[in-house]
Symmetry: C2
Subunit: 146 residues, 2 copies
């Protein structure tokens, strides 16, 4: 599923190991559609290996983040969400009415990045942005109700 040898190499280059726990955590993320929270990763892996501790999940996620293998998204509510970076950078538009999540490509932020760079000489690091708002379906409802 995942390209283990690449991960092994990435880890070995900085003197670390690819343990079974780390492999299982990585596979749980790779096998999932969309995002997983640390707790969900924990639950998933525990069906196969019940001794896995949540702290190991967090420590592994930290490692995978520094290796730029997974991205972490803080939704501003609830737990942070993790996903494979290899699936391609993208962002999320989350409807606060119905909860629908629209995926948006990284290019959506091009103009914003450009503006920040031009006007503020600021190099934004937006690996993963979650924007809350109202989707097209709920826009009408909100006007009727409001």
């Amino acid at each position: 599923m995942t390209h283990h040898h690449e991960v092994v190499e990435a880890l070995q280059q900085i003197g670390y190991r690819l343990t079974p726990q780390r492999m299982m955590i990585l596979e749980a993320i790779a096998d999932s559609e969309g995002h997983l929270s640390a707790e969900e990763i924990h639950e998933t892996v525990r069906t196969a290996y019940p001794y896995l501790d949540i702290s190991t999940v967090y420590r592994t996620l930290d490692l995978l983040k520094t290796l730029h293998l997974v991205s972490e998204t803080d939704l501003g509510r609830g737990p942070a969400q993790y996903e494979l970076l290899s699936k391609g950078l993208h962002h999320h538009l989350i409807c606060t009415e119905c909860g629908e999540i629209l995926d948006a490509p990284n290019s959506l932020l091009d103009s914003l990045r450009h503006a920040m760079s031009e006007e503020y000489d600021f190099h934004a690091e937006i690996e993963h942005l979650a924007v809350f708002g109202i989707c097209s379906n709920c826009k009408g409802d909100a006007q009727e109700a409001g």
Copy 2:
């Protein structure tokens, strides 16, 4: 400092009261430069009124948010930050190297809002955005070091 009568009216319209605690909390926010966390508000007000509880701070902040008097910014790290909405909507570019915080006007997001609206028919509610990245001063340093 704050226009108490306006706040009183806003509260009374929905059947609530402007208590001394609420007044002190609102003033603490109004008197501050930039952002305050709930804990900072708590500490500030407690110098004048030591019995104020942190839960009262949070409950008041909820109220002020629903009245659109203050904005809440989740920085994704550390506690949420609160400030008066009357100071004008703006966003923050936070340098992860030196910690500097650049203020950016709401118009910075115009192009992003437009893109989300055009391409996804999605009405974004971005009261306050915090973007992490590298500022102009640290950009050179990062290249030298990296």
